[in-house]
């Protein structure tokens, strides 16, 4: 009996399962790749965690979005009612919807911060140009996902924001009308636009994002992490193994991010909004989502065609900046470009603030839905944070133990033998 029980020990079961897979799939090359990659430790090491955070938020968006698809109905007649049903009738529907809405905001914020940090660190310099191009594509896809998702609840705000947003390319000569028609699926924003944006939001954009993200991540795994420009090699204190030390540290951030997202969703749940009515005039103070505010404010100040052309040129410049910044590719600082980037950020911040301060309703209506009493929500959140705190503590301790193992040049006991042999 004792012998039998010993066979059922989790460690034995785990190693038996690992052996079963090893006999069928040779994961050696992948494991070697994971094992070879290191992450430099220096005073700016925090910049390496933003991409992983964006990856987690993307995964959470896919998960919560898939759940919303179970009840959402993408038609002009039913879209708003189905969102109302999710928020008020379906158990935990308000929570899933709030997590998705807040997750979108955090995802875009995280991607934007990742973009800025890599821009200033000149992470795009040779040989990482392709990583930059794929990253810029991901930024565009994230904004497109945000824009297409905004229409789906079919509220007054989302209707008019989409009307304005899809009309902007209409100012372009020759192709303008064609683009507007293509985006709307007709001359007007209607039920056809909802189905088209729905397909875009739940199928085309996530699939494309996942594919580009896979390429982006593979490039980072192969090429390794770049050092910020101007940081000499001797300032690097340590090179931590990506697997497991860096990954475990990243898990801590993921847990904190997840806790923050759930807390935001519980404490500030999103409202349902007023159903869109094409017969009604646009309400006063209408605004797009926060990440388009600076564009919105700029287009208020400039002739539309000029504004559209400036944004197109600005986007193209940022996309092609690795080819423009010749000094960075020779590993030299380029202060002129740094000043240009600072000015661009300052412009975006000023216009963002101006638009945010302008009178106008919040992007979600005041009709906020929380499906559980506040006291119960607070208790649940306290429990969640207790578990997260416990996990973070254990992860930090595990990172320390693993580092100690490494510094003592002792391999952790459960490292696969063939992996160790491959290294030697």
């Amino acid at each position: 009996m004792k012998k039998l029980l010993r066979h059922l020990e989790p460690e034995r079961l785990g190693s038996a399962a690992a052996a079963w897979f090893r006999e069928r799939i040779d994961a050696g090359p992948l494991l070697r790749l994971l094992d070879r990659k290191t992450v430099p430790a220096h005073r700016y090491s925090w910049i390496y965690v933003l991409g992983g955070a964006a990856l987690l938020l993307f995964a959470l968006q896919v998960a919560s979005g898939s759940l919303l698809m179970l009840y959402y109905q993408p038609t002009e007649a039913a879209a708003h009612e189905s969102v109302r049903k999710i928020a008020t009738e379906i158990p935990s529907g308000w929570l899933i919807r709030s997590v998705h809405a807040w997750g979108a905001d955090l995802f875009i914020a995280c991607v934007a911060l990742h973009f800025l940090v890599k821009l200033f660190a000149r992470a795009y310099r040779k040989p990482r140009e392709m990583t930059w191009f794929s990253g810029m594509l991901l930024l565009g896809l994230a904004l497109a996902a945000g824009f297409s998702g905004y229409l789906l609840p079919w509220t007054e705000l989302s209707y008019f924001a989409t009307l304005v947003g899809t009309q902007i390319p209409g100012t372009l000569p020759v192709v303008g009308d064609w683009i507007v028609h293509f985006l709307r699926g007709g001359d007007q924003v209607s039920g056809d636009t909802i189905t088209r944006f729905y397909a875009l939001h739940v199928m085309f954009l996530p699939l494309l994002t996942a594919a580009v993200m896979a390429g982006h991540t593979a490039l980072i795994q192969v090429q390794g992490m770049s050092l910020p420009i101007g940081l000499p090699e001797e300032r690097v204190r340590d090179r931590r193994p990506f697997f497991t030390e860096f990954l475990l540290s990243e898990c801590c951030l993921w847990l904190l991010l997840f806790g923050t997202l759930v807390s935001l969703a519980c404490l500030l749940p999103v409202g349902i909004g007023v159903k869109a009515d094409p017969l009604k005039a646009a309400p006063a103070g209408i605004k797009p989502e926060w990440y388009f505010l600076f564009m919105f404010q700029t287009l208020k100040c400039l002739p539309e065609l000029l504004g559209v052309l400036l944004f197109a040129l600005g986007g193209l410049f940022l996309f092609l900046v690795p080819l423009v910044d010749r000094r960075a590719s020779r590993n030299q600082r380029s202060p002129a470009l740094t000043w240009l980037f600072v000015m661009l950020v300052a412009y975006a911040l000023v216009f963002q603030t101006l638009a945010a301060r302008a009178p106008g309703g919040p992007s979600h209506s005041a009709e906020v839905v929380r499906g559980a009493p506040l006291a119960g929500t607070l208790v649940s959140l306290a429990l969640l944070w207790t578990v997260i705190g416990f996990l973070v503590y254990a992860l930090v301790q595990l990172v320390r133990v693993n580092r100690r193992f490494r510094q003592m040049s002792v391999r952790p006991p459960d490292r696969p033998k063939q992996q160790a042999a491959a290294e030697e």
């Binding site: 759940l67 179970l70 158990p91 969640l384 996990l391 254990a394 595990l398 133990v401 193992f405």
Partner: protein
């Protein structure tokens, strides 16, 4: 070396702790997700359904399906000389297919697995394990009221009973 052993033990202990914590977090995430996907809340049918005269005007020996909330209901005007109006839950007791009235055989039939019921809802043949459930009905001011529970036929006078028939509208 003593130090190595303590590290190994500590590592194993921390992995155990992490496994426990991850399970707790997984359960915390799974609970709302499962309740959301399962949508386990009860959705009881409406207590009663009122039909206008033209909605139940059937010639003798014919049937018609109407929706009682989310449930299909089969109205049958019995053949002459009986001529009474009956209403059944039109969901087969075998595997939930919707049944229909067959005037030529004067029976209720489920096409999915060829289950047959008589006009009292009793099983005549086929796999259905139970008779069809019959609605309580009542005529009131030219309207037909259907209810699954007798007391819901009329809130004012719950004792008014089943099949209090009036003459069918001509």
């Amino acid at each position: 070396m003593r130090l190595d052993e303590s590290c190994v033990a500590r590592r194993r202990f921390l992995c155990g702790l992490l496994g426990g914590g991850a399970t707790a977090l997984g359960a915390a995430v799974a609970a709302p997700a499962v309740s959301y996907v399962g949508n386990f809340r009860r959705q009881p049918p409406p207590p009663r359904l009122e039909l206008a005269a033209d909605e139940f005007a059937l010639p003798p020996g014919s049937g018609k399906l109407v929706m009682y909330g989310p449930i299909p209901a089969l109205l049958i005007r019995m053949p002459e000389p009986d001529g009474r109006l009956k209403a059944f839950v039109a969901t087969c007791t075998h595997l939930d297919c919707t049944v229909s009235y067959q005037p030529d055989q004067n029976r209720i039939f489920c096409a999915c697995h060829e289950g047959c019921f008589d006009l009292d809802g009793q099983v005549l043949s086929g796999p259905p394990p139970r008779p069809l459930r019959e609605f309580y009905t009542r005529h009131e001011a030219g309207r037909l009221i259907l209810a699954l529970e007798k007391e819901n036929l009329s809130q004012e006078n719950p004792e008014k009973g089943k099949l209090e028939e009036t003459a069918p509208p001509s």
